[in-house]
């Protein structure tokens, strides 16, 4: 009991997603007109469609001095969990107990003001993170040395390069010494030298007996810094144990998740312009596609209004959710890029044909963007639809299995024959 730093029981967070014309915020005008509409309102649709649980019944304990990682794919609830533990947002259900002074690093450089100098921003940022002024003054020289910006201390930060900015921001954050440190993937900044320094500093913090909760997408960083991990999936904790096992579980989930159909149907269809249906036409059945064969993506777009400013593009993503191919619509006649041209309200079909795709073996999905170019508004983004798998059975080495970390793209290459050569001594 006495050595628990973080105790979480039954934590849940429910978000309402705006349906129809209710966005994240309302206007007084809408609220007032709602009052008048009250007698005429039809019974509200079930809440199931307009809300979702980002976290659901999450429970775990973290002991004092442990360094624990939190991993999971995008949308699994990691950021929501951190936000709740950092008291930025409130849980819908459940409770949390934090024993000790908490410092949260959800972003680097929070509150930096471009007009203020480096020196002034150190104090400002430190205060925002929760450090006392005396504490900042005491650590000032260390912070400046860590960031390597002695010469630029008194220039306004807007003149800093992005590298200097990040180094300074991280330097302040790195000197936060709370009993419980909550970190959200802030190590992906700066050049590799600086990243090593940051990783080292984080290790240092963990070794000094502080409790660290660390969200990351980098398995390498998680392996190095943490002894145990939580794996989140769909808002729930699916694994709580040693890091090695957690990483295996995470990878297993990644593979499972992409067993989706190579077709997509919008159900229920939203009320704005959207993709009604989509499919990927592969060389074989069930989303199996042989390397090098032509690949076609078919999209059925439904527009709820006429406009000449719609643009459409999509990316093919690999298993690590890295984009590999970017296709944006180009009108075959006018060659105008991006815009679909003038369309009236209605349903249309458009196809994208890749004559000789170079995707390496593995599983891929598609993420689409439908935007209005004039208002710069993202109308609809669909993530991870149209899962398909590229096989290389026609190639030599057909028994070769895909290894993690391999490139997703295969270029044409030509090797010369092996020729003996003499090098001068």
């Amino acid at each position: 009991m006495s050595d628990i730093a973080i105790r979480v029981r039954g934590l849940g967070k429910q978000y309402r997603i705006g349906g129809g014309n209710r966005g994240p915020y309302r206007s007084l005008r809408e609220s007032i007109s709602d009052v008048f509409k009250l007698p005429f309102r039809r019974p509200a649709s079930t809440d199931e469609e307009t809300s979702f649980w980002a976290l659901n019944n999450v429970s775990f304990d973290i002991r004092r001095g442990e360094a624990v990682g939190v991993i999971g794919r995008n949308g699994a609830g990691k950021s929501t969990l951190l936000k709740i533990l950092s008291r930025i947002t409130e849980p819908t259900t459940g409770r949390v107990e934090l024993h000790g002074r908490v410092g949260s690093l959800l972003e680097v450089g929070t509150g930096f003001h471009p007009e203020l100098t480096g020196r002034e921003n150190i104090f400002l940022n430190g205060a925002i993170l929760g450090m006392r002024r005396s504490e900042i003054a005491r650590k000032f020289d260390e912070i400046v040395a860590f960031a390597e910006i002695e010469r630029f201390l008194d220039t306004p930060v807007r003149f800093y390069s992005s590298g200097m900015y990040m180094r300074l921001a991280f330097a302040v954050a790195a000197h936060l010494e709370p009993e419980i440190l909550i970190v959200d993937e802030v190590l992906a900044v700066g050049d590799s030298g600086f990243q090593k320094k940051c990783l080292g500093k984080m290790e240092n913090i963990a070794q000094h007996g502080r409790t660290v909760l660390f969200v990351s997408h980098s398995m390498q960083a998680v392996r190095r810094l943490t002894t145990s991990c939580l794996v989140l999936s769909g808002g729930e904790v699916v694994y709580d144990g040693p890091t090695a096992g957690a990483i295996r579980e995470y990878e297993r989930l990644q593979r499972l998740d992409t067993d989706m159909a190579p077709t997509y149907i919008a159900n229920p269809p939203p009320r704005h312009s959207h993709i009604a249906q989509a499919s990927v036409v592969t060389s074989g059945p069930c989303g199996q596609h042989e390397w090098g064969h032509p690949l076609t993506f078919r999209f059925t777009l439904h527009f709820t209004e006429s406009s000449q400013h719609f643009t459409f593009s999509f990316q093919v993503m690999d298993e690590q959710e890295r984009p590999v191919i970017h296709c944006y619509y180009i009108h075959p006649v006018t060659k105008a890029d991006y815009a679909l041209g003038p369309v009236e309200r209605g349903t249309y079909q458009v196809e994208c044909h890749l004559p000789h795709p170079r995707l390496y073996m593995g599983r891929y999905t598609v993420t689409t963007w439908l935007t209005n170019r004039r208002s710069n508004q993202l109308i609809e983004k669909l993530s991870r639809i149209l899962a398909f798998e590229v096989t290389m059975h026609e190639q030599p080495r057909e028994e070769y299995e895909r290894q993690p970390g391999e490139a997703a793209y295969v270029e044409d290459w030509a090797w010369s024959p092996v020729q003996p050569v003499e090098i001068g001594v």
Binding site: S2, S27, T110
Partner: protein, 295 residues
């Protein structure tokens, strides 16, 4: 209910028993329902952050404009000049026995502070969205910082009085000792309205369009351009429920000895201010849990 145990108590008895474990604060996080305590103690714990935010706003404001500190003087000064010409001279509005320019200035200085504070604080939460989404601190700090930031401008503007009083040969009486009290009342009023405005603006985003219009109307409902004595007797009490009327009348009386000494009207006005502040604080705290998700 969210609560933070003070540093000298421990949550569980075991903690006290362990020899090496220091008494640490326990933070409990749970869903809140309905009205939430204001927690002034926590606000006090974050006073250094409040100081830095005020310092940042003042510093940036004075660094950015070419006029810098002069702006704090020019705003009330030019308004006073225009009012003196059109309301004082041309329209011939009475001014409680003191020269109209002084009469107007004494009201314009606290009024400018209030109007600016209202404008700044109503946008403060939305403008600090990046902070609210990433760091924890009592959100009350944000509108508080934007109101207190105006105090620097108020102090600078007050310096206008010195040449003005000298020019007109008026020496303030003992009433001037009341001035800090009226400044405090101005702060309470600005804060009360600011808390309401900032919290409402997060939920109803068109509030910020209403504010400039509301501020203008409000000025005419306050004895800035005209003396309160212009208002017919039977409407006087209702009129004095305006929290700013107490501030403005008070400034005038303290600096110039003009108008009636503090009495029932001031009490009515001050009570209205306090009510706005307390209700504003509770409304703010109640809505606070939605800020990070909505801002």
């Amino acid at each position: 209910m969210e609560s933070t145990a003070p540093l000298d108590k421990t949550a569980s008895p075991d903690l006290a028993a362990t020899p090496h474990a220091p008494a640490s604060p326990v933070i409990r996080i749970e869903p809140t329902r309905g009205w939430v305590a204001v927690r002034l103690k926590e606000l006090w714990a974050y006073r250094e952050l409040l100081y830095f935010l005020v310092w940042r706003d003042v510093k940036v404001r004075y660094k950015q404009t070419v006029l810098g500190a002069a702006w704090a003087l020019l705003q009330p000064l030019f308004t006073m000049l225009v009012f003196s010409v059109f309301f004082g001279r041309l329209a011939g509005i009475p001014s409680d026995g003191v020269p109209y320019p002084l009469f107007a200035l004494a009201a314009l200085i606290p009024w400018t502070f209030f109007a600016n504070a209202l404008g700044q604080s109503s946008n403060s939460l939305v403008n600090s969205a990046h902070l609210i989404a990433k760091v924890y601190f009592p959100r009350l700090v944000i509108p508080l910082a934007s109101v207190l930031g105006g105090l620097v401008d108020l102090a600078v503007a007050c310096s206008l009085f010195v040449p003005m009083l000298l020019y007109y040969g008026i020496t303030p009486g003992w009433g001037i000792l009341w001035l800090p009290g009226f400044v405090l009342l101005a702060i309470v009023t600005a804060l009360g309205v600011g808390l309401w405005a900032s919290a409402l603006n997060v939920e109803y985003r068109d509030v910020r369009h209403v504010i400039p219009f509301a501020t203008q109307l409000w000025m005419f409902l306050t004895p800035v351009v005209y003396p309160g004595s212009l208002v017919p007797e039977r409407w006087r009490l209702l009129y004095n429920l305006n929290p700013m009327s107490g501030v403005v009348d008070g400034f005038r009386w303290a600096l110039l000895g003009a108008g009636a000494p503090p009495g029932l009207p001031l009490l009515a006005s001050a009570l209205a201010s306090l009510t706005l502040l307390v209700t504003g604080a509770f409304y703010f705290r109640r809505m606070e849990k939605t800020f990070a998700d909505r801002v």
